[in-house]
Amino acid sequence: MQELINAVSLGCIYMLFAMGMSLVWGTLDVLNFAHGSIFMFSAFSGFYLMQETGNSLPLAALLLVGVVVGALMSVLAYQLVLRPILRRAKDKDSAERQILIGGIGLAGIPVAIVQIQTLSNPFSFRAGSFEVASYDFLGARISNIQIVIWVVGVLLGTAVVLWLRRSRSGLALRSIGVDSEVASLMGIDQGRLGVAAMAVAGGMAGLSGALLCVSFGALTAESGDVLLLKAFAIIILGGVGSMLGTIIGAFFLAGAETLLIANTSGTWVDAVSFGLLFLVLLVRPQGILGRQEVRRT
């Protein structure tokens, strides 16, 4: 039972992180390799402010900092680097390659800054102004922070799915993913929608960074890189472009990892996602819920 609670909490964080990445990959054709360091840097910004203010920040403010910093970084990455690459690339293949390379370069910058600032030590929100309380829940313990994670996860997960499914701008975003030129012929302003999508993605990454840092104690400068590859595994597992697939993938991976941690020393935990990724790429590259091309000639 305790494992289940932990797995769901971890799954919520994975989901928030991976959904944002999946959102911009499926629609804007941006596989943002810097997504992981945005996650990490947002959490670090919270940590930094916390120190500066003498540990007086409430939890809500910490999360807010994560969201704002994440959204800001994501939008900047898009406007300054990723969008210019997309615009200048001579074909789809080289765009893909340059986006990945540019993203790797971008990802290195915050990581290096935090390494310098922390001297490569882990950082954490030690007891701040908020208290960690635990409650009995069906024979297991659940902390108030885990409850926050569940609530935020469910609310945001649903909101993003509904946004894409039901709203006018969500529909427009999906159409960009199918054929961006025709989307502009529909009168859709891709610049603005792209920024909005990147902001949502970055905000979710920042939020998940703050939440993970609060609930699991500490992060390091490199935490984002590992999480990025985990999210890639999750997205591939669920199928690129499928939000539902991403959600399922996130909880699946969280479950598998939690089981492994419960039964071993836990040092192999990172290998789970990479192994899983490998397996999916080999057996079913389009993912569990990946869409098959719908076409008729």
């Binding site: 006018r168 529909l171 427009a172 999906r174 159409s175 199918v178 054929d179 030129e181 025709v182 989307a183 502009s184 012929l185 529909m186 009168g187 859709i188 302003d189 891709q190 869409r291 091309e293 719908v294 076409r295 008729r296 000639t297």
Partner: protein, 238 residues
Amino acid sequence: MLEIDELHVSYGKVRAVRGVSLAARPGRVTLVLGANGAGKTTTLRAVMGLQSVDSGRVRVDGTDITGKDTHKVVRAGVSLVPEGRRVFAPLTVEENLLLGGYSTSATDRADTLQKVYGMFPILSDRRDGAAGLLSGGEQQMLAFGRALMSRSKYVLMDEPSMGLAPSVVQTVLMTAREIADSGIGVLMVEQNAEAGLQVADEVVAISQGEVGFTGDVAAARADRAILRAFLGESALSN
């Protein structure tokens, strides 16, 4: 009136469109003829802001839209039915149509949707199905419907009959005629010259990036050069 005035467009070092002037008027079908590579598609793309313009002007009812971003051109009242239809295959028919009306108000959108369904009952029947599962002719209807959803005053059509079964070509072009009859200005690029002439009011012939002929259908049919280039003298003219 949609006016294209002395338009020049180049692609890298190649001058693709060299001083093309033509116009589309409400309620009329203007047919643009020209061989592959004559610069027709480039002209349409330049009007829509999908291609940058070297010089020249594009005006919609007097408003200059030259070089505007595509979404602004659409908002100014011009839409394009692209070559090869390019419906959003994984999205439903209704979603495709709603996207067409992206820049209109919610009430207008609902209104126009009903009108489009009335015009194309087949789309109404298939509204929840994926657009990619429609037949070629149905997809062309969807592409038309999608353009109508924007409530544009001018609709540009790039090769609407391309790749369609012959029996469907007539239906599609008649639909283009109906669209014009409802008061919209249609500017149509069409390879199938004969079929195109049957629904057109005015004809513009482009060759190597320049306008070679402008006139009404009767004049076009009387023009020997047009006949030779687009209609006859092939092995089929038995």
